[in-house]
């Protein structure tokens, strides 16, 4: 990818801004749409990328929009490809301050590995929305 300096929007002081993303070819969007609706109703600033993004395009968008968190939803088994790539890209672009979290069908073993690589939090199926809202709301203060 050509090295283009991406212009960042100025940080807002109060509201947590979250980019919710579907990366890869996975089309399952029931979960992410419910989470998007719930977070935005809880007063959190939500941007949703839509389907079939690449980690590259998501990271670029996240930096542009200057979000606090990126949330990936992955139900296709591609989590071990997408999450590490996203974390690496953020480091390369000097945007370590943007946190990565996610949810979907992710086996326990992989959750452990991904957390070691720097993924902040992973939610499995059946997680109450309240738990996700709490995590996102408290994220900025932590």
């Amino acid at each position: 990818m050509p090295k283009i300096k991406i212009k960042r929007k100025p940080k807002t002081k109060t509201k947590v801004r979250v980019l919710l993303a579907k990366a890869g070819l996975d089309g399952h969007d029931r979960g992410i749409k419910i989470v998007a609706k719930a977070l935005s109703e809880a007063g959190i600033n939500i941007i949703y990328t839509g389907l079939h993004q690449t980690p590259e395009s998501v990271i670029e968008r996240a930096i542009e929009e200057n979000v606090d968190l990126i949330g990936f939803s992955i139900l296709s088994g591609a989590h071990m490809a997408v999450f590490p790539r996203a974390v690496k890209l953020l480091k390369e672009k000097g945007a370590r301050d943007i946190g990565v979290f996610g949810g979907g069908i992710i086996p326990d073993e992989d959750i452990k590995k991904l957390k070691k690589m720097g993924v902040k939090k992973l939610f499995g199926s059946g997680t109450p929305l309240e738990e996700i809202i709490e995590f996102v709301k408290n994220y900025k203060s932590s």
Binding site: L25, D26, G27, R30, I32, T54, G126
Partner: protein, 536 residues
């Protein structure tokens, strides 16, 4: 009369229909038995499409299967057939479904993960190796690239000397529900439907026993729709295909008998059974009255059922066996022609051999031990079930009007009408679980605090299979006659710009070992790609 004490529960179906404490003949007093319910095998087919249903023939036990490479999946197919499965059902991986080859950068990490990876005819030859295609029927869950995968299947049969009129099976080939729910679309809607009508016309002439579309409510339901929405949106899609084929100059009785359906079997026992019965009645009436179908076969709604994946829980996964059992029973009591039962471990991974065997055994137990197959439509005439059937039919009709008011199915896709309706229902369902109005055992009640991690063994896909698949693909590209590949792709490109039937051209491409991705790229170039409106 003073009402007896009732618990503070909202007695409603999952779709929100109020349920009374008792149903009597008064609830169906407006029903004319012969006209509205009728006999099985007789119009309007509310009680079933066959006179003697499962006394004549059991449903096809068809387990959706596929992972890794064609070799692994072929082994799983043989295992299932040896265990008494009676039809095949292929799950393809996401790159195949999205029309990318295994070596495409976008396929990285996804090859063989959600299903089997298919790049060329060679993969299909291995996939069906030593499986008698003239004796077994095969269902293939493939949509945007359906023409390509179907052409590969036909090419395998041709190479083995099996005449096409001996082939039976189904391609899902329902792209309308891709835009609505499953979201594995590639081309724009109108161009996709053009290719579908090409397949329909090709099959009338060449593969007469093939089900050309499996019009699917399953994914609409899994995306969060209610039973009513599943019923209404699916049938609306079905009518759209019928109109497209008629507009392409085909006689309704020439193609309607080969249209088939695929529904979800969710958790609300009687509502689901009523849904299947209402679907049969609406289809028969509309095909006869609106589209002027004359042949009996054109009026029959034949359907496959899959138990609801979205009702399975990661918590206490063994409980999923019981959920699946009840949902499978609903399918049987609703008169399904074929059935897939989910495995208990599917919220965690693709099914392990042990889990899939239990799921298959569930169907065999229902078929051979419970006696529910002894009589046709045992719930027919139940005051409650008939009332629900009427209610679902009415609600679906209300949706048809609404869709028409919005300008039809294509317009509804464009402005996100279906998508918005479904997201609304999905969120309402989730909230009712979180408010504990709806109890999900092991999730919001009867939680096992000791349960920390997964307690069952799950299937792992060896990451080296992706490399192996890419290596094999490279080898094929080196071996094949690349001149022939180029000329067949060029011929497809030129004909795609005309209104010719594209199936013969796709056949030439796959027989020259052009890859799925190369063929799809031709269509991406000619027809463009679809971008959905971003809404939540």
């Amino acid at each position: 009369m003073k009402k007896a004490h009732e618990r503070a529960t909202k007695f409603r179906t999952i779709s929100g229909t109020k349920v009374k404490s008792l149903y009597t003949p008064l609830d169906i007093s407006s029903c004319n038995y012969l006209e509205d319910i009728g006999l099985p095998g007789k119009y309007p087919y509310t009680r079933g499409i066959h006179e003697n249903m499962y006394r004549g023939r059991l449903w096809t036990m068809r387990m959706f299967a596929g992972f890794g490479t064609a070799r692994e999946t072929n082994k799983r197919f043989k295992y299932l057939l040896n265990q008494g499965e009676t039809g095949l059902s292929v799950a393809f991986d996401v790159p195949t479904i999205m029309g990318y080859d295994s070596d495409h950068p976008r396929s990285k990490g996804e090859v063989g993960r959600c299903g089997v990876a298919i790049d060329t005819l060679t993969d299909m030859e291995i996939l069906f190796g030593n499986i008698p295609l003239d004796k077994i029927t095969t269902s293939m869950t493939i949509n945007s690239p359906a023409a390509i995968i179907f052409a590969m299947y036909l090419a395998v049969a041709e190479k083995r000397g099996i005449p096409f009129d001996k082939l039976g099976g189904t391609i899902q080939n329902d792209t309308l529900k891709e835009y609505i729910a499953q979201k594995t679309y590639i081309l724009p809607p109108k161009e996709s439907v053009r290719i579908i009508t090409n397949i329909i016309a090709y099959c009338i002439e060449n593969v007469p026993r093939w089900n050309t579309i499996s019009i699917s409510g399953y994914h609409i339901r899994e995306a969060g729709a209610t039973a009513i929405q599943e019923l209404a949106f699916t049938l609306a899609d079905g009518f759209t295909y019928v109109e497209a084929a008629i507009n392409a100059g085909l006689d309704v009785d020439s193609f309607a008998p080969r249209l088939s359906f695929f529904f979800n079997s969710h958790s609300d026992f009687f509502e689901e059974i009523a849904k299947f019965r209402a679907a049969r009645r609406i289809w028969a009436k509309t095909m006869k009255e609106k589209y002027g179908a004359k042949k009996k076969e054109s009026l029959l709604l034949r359907f496959h059922v899959q138990t609801a994946g979205c009702t399975l829980t990661a918590q206490q996964p063994e409980n999923n066996i019981i959920r699946t059992t009840l949902q499978a029973l609903q399918g049987v009591l609703g008169g399904a022609q074929s059935l897939h039962t989910n495995s208990m471990d599917e919220t965690l991974a693709l099914p392990s051999e042990k889990a899939v065997l239990i799921a298959l055994r569930t169907q065999q137990i229902i078929a051979h031990e419970t006696g529910v197959i002894n009589t046709v439509d045992p719930l027919g005439g139940s005051y409650f079930v008939e009332t629900l059937t009427n209610k679902l039919e009415d609600e679906a009709n209300a949706y048809f009007k609404e869709i028409k008011r919005h300008g039809g199915v294509f317009k509804c896709l464009e402005d996100g009408y279906f998508q918005k309706e479904i997201t609304k229902s999905a969120k309402a369902y989730q909230e009712s679980v979180e408010r504990k109005e709806r109890i999900t055992v092991g999730v919001n009640e009867y939680v096992n605090p000791e349960e920390k991690a997964t307690t069952i063994n799950i299937l792992e896909i060896d990451p080296s299979l992706e490399r192996e698949q890419i290596k094999n693909l490279k080898a094929i590209k080196g071996k094949r006659n690349n001149k022939k590949v180029k000329s067949s792709l060029k011929a497809l490109e030129e004909s795609s710009k005309t209104d010719k039937n594209l199936m013969p051209y796709v056949m030439e491409c796959v027989k020259s070992y052009a890859t799925l991705g190369e063929i799809m790229d031709v269509w991406r170039k000619v027809f463009g790609v679809y971008k959905e409106p971003i809404i939540f």
